[in-house]
């Protein structure tokens, strides 16, 4: 991930000098995950070197956050909210439908590696519940029909 160093250096322009390496950790991890799909051991070694911090400190931090992953997942990450406002608007039915259609429960990936399903907590989009993220994008006011239409578009 050495090719990302110029990008990381650019981030420093608007940051204060104190605590600089610590404050860069999460942005670097996000960027690396965007590039590789997850955080590999060699990324941790690279960041430990680049940010001059012990590798264990990076592992400790990244293991805390649900968005950061240590292993690859399916090409399409379906993150369906199961918190109260979405549940009140029928997200349980969508989980059932996804199980029927793709054969996976939350936490599982289809054998062909296309879809990973996660049940996630409030995505802060309750006015247009039920809500599901597909990779980085929110899809709102889902119905069984609109969900099926979305699945057809993903290959």
């Amino acid at each position: 991930m050495k090719h990302l160093i110029p990008e990381f250096e650019a981030l420093k322009q608007r940051l204060p000098l104190e605590g600089l390496n610590g404050v860069l950790l999460l942005p670097c991890l996000h960027r690396i995950q965007q590039e590789r799909g997850y955080i590999h051991d060699e990324d941790i070694a690279f960041l430990a070197d680049y940010l001059a911090m012990p590798a264990i400190q990076i592992i400790e931090a990244l293991s805390f956050y649900t968005m950061l992953r240590r292993a690859p997942i399916g090409r399409w990450h379906l993150q369906l909210c199961h918190n109260l406002p979405c549940a009140l608007c029928g997200s349980d039915n969508l989980f059932d439908y996804l199980h029927e259609r793709l054969g996976i429960r939350p936490g599982e990936t289809t054998p062909d590696g296309r879809f990973t399903l996660s049940a996630v907590e409030c995505l802060g989009c309750c006015g247009t519940a039920p809500v599901m993220m597909i990779n980085e994008t929110y899809h709102e006011q889902l119905t069984l029909e609109s969900l099926e239409a979305l699945l057809k578009e993903l290959n």
Partner: protein
């Protein structure tokens, strides 16, 4: 119309969030005026006079928080806009970021000038896609126009802002956990004292304010603290954004003047309960604020004091409407699963206690509950309150105690009949 408007007082055109539109509405004029004619302490004084309370949930007066910081003490200070919106039912800061990003930025500049801040952060939750794009665009527009950077608008004031993405953690919405996260650590809440305004980010005086709270500052400095104070009620000045969801005909974000009657708000502004059903309960300010039945909430007005009087709160303004026919046992199960999942694990009462509560409610849902289970739930919920570093343990307890207080008969029924008093579902099965 739910009273006067401060934050939403402009038409939502497709370009309303851009700099040109904001300037056409008088945007950044207040900043220009303040930098040349106001002293930093004048800014703080206006915010103290306005009496604006934090909109993240705790309703602590922003001015009193700011007063702790001495702008002239010679050490670095930091300002953080808390946009890590994660309280279930809350999506109002999303609105600010998407539609009024420059209002937030101008307000942050005014605050930074008042508190002697050189570097600001906007901590936005990692999942937000369009809000992130909108605030990023606004930041670049503001830099290009010279509102951020060195010697802003020909003054001696310099300020930078950085957008920082969270990585999926509810507890990072708590201010001290948020600062640890910014520092590149786990989002563990810190013990107080010291207050963050004394020792915050990198042990420096730091002000963390909710996004909506900050977005009001430009209006307050422009029109004066007294003008702000004249809006709303005596104890809850101003307006607030209510994000309403669940079984409601017209969900969305509404700006409401404090003191506006709840009943009118729900029935006239939000179109009433979806599908014309009867109202069963309302969670008034995110799931951490205790649930209220219709006979109590229908008599209340939307201000802090009214909700505190009935042992609940307006919290984060995330209002969840629940229609007749919804199973409250399942509703509590959803909430407890959430708090259990989001516990950071630092404090035993929250890490273990909320886990116990989660397992008890699952047991009840599976028809294996006993009569002692409700007492156990209540006992753990009460024990959690006030025994943890942050409010997450309290929140799980308050949500549990609130729902048992008003809907205990449903839990008793579930335990004795091994099935729900309602049909056991949460969603409303009718066209809305």
């Amino acid at each position: 119309m739910p009273g006067r408007k401060i934050l939403t007082d402009f038409p939502l055109t497709p370009t309303a969030h851009h700099l040109d539109d904001y300037r056409a509405r008088g945007g950044y004029e207040t900043l220009a005026k303040a930098l040349h004619s106001l002293r930093p302490e004048d800014i703080i004084q206006e915010v103290v006079d306005a009496g604006i309370q934090g909109r993240g949930g705790a309703a602590f007066p922003a001015g009193r928080k700011w007063q702790v910081v001495n702008p002239h003490d010679g050490q670095p200070h930091y300002l953080v806009a808390n946009a890590d919106e994660g309280e279930p039912g809350t999506f109002k800061d999303r609105w600010v970021l998407e539609y009024a990003p420059h209002q937030l930025l101008e307000s942050m500049l005014l605050c930074a000038y008042g508190l002697g801040v050189r570097h600001c952060f906007i901590y936005i939750r990692g999942e937000y896609d369009r809000p992130l794009q909108r605030i990023q665009t606004a930041v670049e527009e503001a830099y290009a126009a010279g509102y951020f950077g060195e010697q802003i608008l020909g003054s001696t004031f310099s300020c930078d802002v950085v957008i920082f993405r969270g990585a999926g953690s509810y507890v990072c919405g708590e201010a001290s956990a948020l600062l640890n996260s910014l520092e590149g650590k786990r989002g563990y809440p810190r013990n107080r004292p010291p207050r963050l305004t004394v020792q915050g980010l990198w042990q420096r005086p730091t002000v963390v304010n909710n996004t909506e709270t900050l977005a009001n500052i430009a209006w307050i400095i422009r029109h004066g603290g007294a003008a702000y104070r004249a809006i709303g009620t005596e104890k809850s000045p101003g307006t607030r954004l209510i994000s309403i969801s669940g079984h409601v005909a017209k969900p969305g974000v509404y700006e409401v003047e404090m003191g506006y009657p709840f009943k009118t708000f729900l029935e006239q502004d939000c179109g009433g309960v979806a599908g014309g059903r009867a109202l069963k309960a309302v969670i008034p300010g995110g799931t951490s604020s205790p649930i209220l039945p219709p006979d109590i909430i229908e008599g209340l007005s939307l201000d802090h004091e009214s909700f505190w009087d009935v042992d609940s709160g307006l919290g984060s303004g995330g209002m969840i409407i629940i229609a007749e026919g919804t199973c409250m046992v399942r509703a509590l199960a959803v909430m407890l699963r959430f708090y259990h999942h989001e516990s950071c694990g630092q404090c035993t009462p929250c890490r273990e206690g909320v886990g116990w509560m989660h397992r008890i409610i699952q047991r009840i849902l599976h028809g294996q509950g006993t009569n002692e289970d409700l007492e156990r739930l209540e006992y753990i919920a009460k024990f959690n309150t006030g025994t943890t570093i942050c409010g997450l343990g309290d929140a799980a307890g308050a949500a549990t105690i609130g729902i048992l207080k008003h809907f205990r008969h449903e839990f008793d029924h579930f335990i004795s009949h091994k099935r729900s008093l309602c049909d056991g579902r949460l969603e409303l099965r009718c066209a809305s």
